[in-house]
């Protein structure tokens, strides 16, 4: 791959997906795109670049999907799901007792482990959420991973990385080395294709947004724009969850970190991005600005 090819792919991926590749990521591009080139009957990445330049839309989509599909697993990092179970959901069950509805968005759902982990957390609440309307919306840029997600089928390796054995036995059906999530859990999640660079106001507003380990691939300006739009998509007392290596600090003041709850953010009341009035979650305090 020539430096010109790499530069072309960098710009192409930035425009199409927001992916911000630094100059030292040639190995990543080669490792992900060479198998794709071979699959398409091409000898090497420069041939792939030529095909994209000549307007091969299918190949262009495949390139974006190959570069943006990221590894994930059930209950990834564990702590965010502990917060969901122990802090966020109890607060919301109290705050939404009158309307009995919850909306949760998994904003980069990849192969579905995150939204299904959320669904299992809600299932485990049992009677506390009986009769509630639950919307879990899972979005991803890649149509291919969305199709895999909808099927809810995972390998033996995938179900062992983060998923407690009790939940595997309770919510999955085994077929040899393959495990499929039961229909009642699958039906809790709606999967939709979405590019975070584009408008997402049509999704409505949410009580909780999981946007973990995706914004790290965007540049600062793009992150700031997405945070601003996410603030408008979050209820005034809602919670945003970011990945362990991510933060809003120094990028936007639309959100403020929740004290003693790493990775959790709420709308900054000082900004007045949305009309105030709804109470903060029970047991949660907004941290002092850092």
């Amino acid at each position: 791959m020539t430096p010109m090819d790499y530069e072309y792919l960098r710009k192409f991926l930035k425009e199409r997906s927001g992916l911000d590749l630094s100059a030292d990521k040639t190995y990543l591009v080669e490792s992900r795109l060479l198998p794709l080139a071979r699959k398409a009957g091409l000898a090497a990445i420069p041939d792939l670049v030529q095909k994209i330049k000549t307007g091969d839309g299918k190949l262009a989509t495949d390139v974006v999907e190959a570069m943006t599909t990221n590894e994930t697993f059930f209950f990834r990092d564990k702590v965010p799901f502990d917060h969901l179970r122990d802090t966020i959901l109890p607060g919301l069950i109290q705050a939404r007792a009158a309307r009995k509805s919850l909306r949760i968005w998994s904003a980069a759902s990849s192969t579905g482990q995150e939204p299904y982990s959320i669904a299992m957390c809600l299932k485990e609440k049992g009677a506390a959420l009986a009769g509630w309307r639950i919307d879990i919306v899972a979005t991803d840029l890649s149509q291919e991973v969305l199709e895999k997600s909808k099927a809810g089928v995972y390998s033996q390796f995938e179900v062992q990385r983060g998923l407690p054995i009790q939940l595997l036995v309770k919510y999955f059906t085994q077929s040899g080395d393959i495990w499929q999530l039961n229909a009642d859990v699958r039906s809790m999640v709606q999967f939709r294709q979405l590019n975070l660079l584009q408008d997402f106001s049509h999704l409505g507003t949410f009580d909780v947004i999981f946007c973990r380990n995706v914004l790290i691939y965007f540049d600062q300006d793009t992150k700031a724009v997405i945070f601003e739009r996410m603030a408008k998509s979050l209820e005034a007392d809602g919670t945003l969850l970011l990945g362990a290596a991510e933060s809003v600090v120094g990028i936007t003041d639309a959100f403020r970190p929740v004290a003693d709850r790493r990775g959790l953010y709420q709308i900054n009341p000082a900004r007045g991005a949305r009309p105030a009035g709804a109470p903060m979650l029970a047991g949660m305090r907004i941290a002092a600005a850092r």
């Binding site: 033996q156 390796f157 062992q160 990385r161 407690p164 054995i165 036995v169 085994q174």
Partner: protein, 121 residues
């Protein structure tokens, strides 16, 4: 440093498990069957047991029953690690007091995730 008793009749599996668990800061003890594992537990209870199911002399399931009946035997976290990969075996293991269950083949990520799940890491 926490201790983990690795119980498996395959020396290769014990070696692989030892390498992974030492990387997670465990001190490793080894036993090649359930009977030898029980003797080791009588000398001193480990913090964790990584336990195969099918072994000569005494299998992992029988060992688990004996362990849980020992004074203090409810304390060690027991993680099965076996080729018995069907729901019926998993359910039996959990009912007998296993804390987690690894279906072979396994890798470092799986062992780490399971040990995190039961609070050992």
């Amino acid at each position: 440093m926490r201790t983990c008793l690795v119980v498996d009749d395959s020396s290769v599996i014990r070696k692989v498990a030892r390498r992974i668990l030492e990387g997670l800061d465990f001190q490793i003890l080894e036993a090649e069957d359930g009977e030898k594992a029980l003797e080791a537990c009588k000398r001193g209870l480990p913090d964790a047991v990584l336990l195969d199911w099918n072994m000569p002399v005494m299998d992992g399931y029988e060992f688990l029953g004996h362990l849980r009946r020992m004074p203090g035997g409810d304390q060690p976290k027991v993680v099965f690690c076996t080729t018995e990969n069907d729901v019926a075996h998993i359910a039996r293991a959990l009912h007998a007091g296993a804390n987690e269950y690894i279906m072979k083949p396994f890798d470092k990520d799986i062992v780490t995730a399971k040990f995190q799940e039961v609070g050992l890491i």
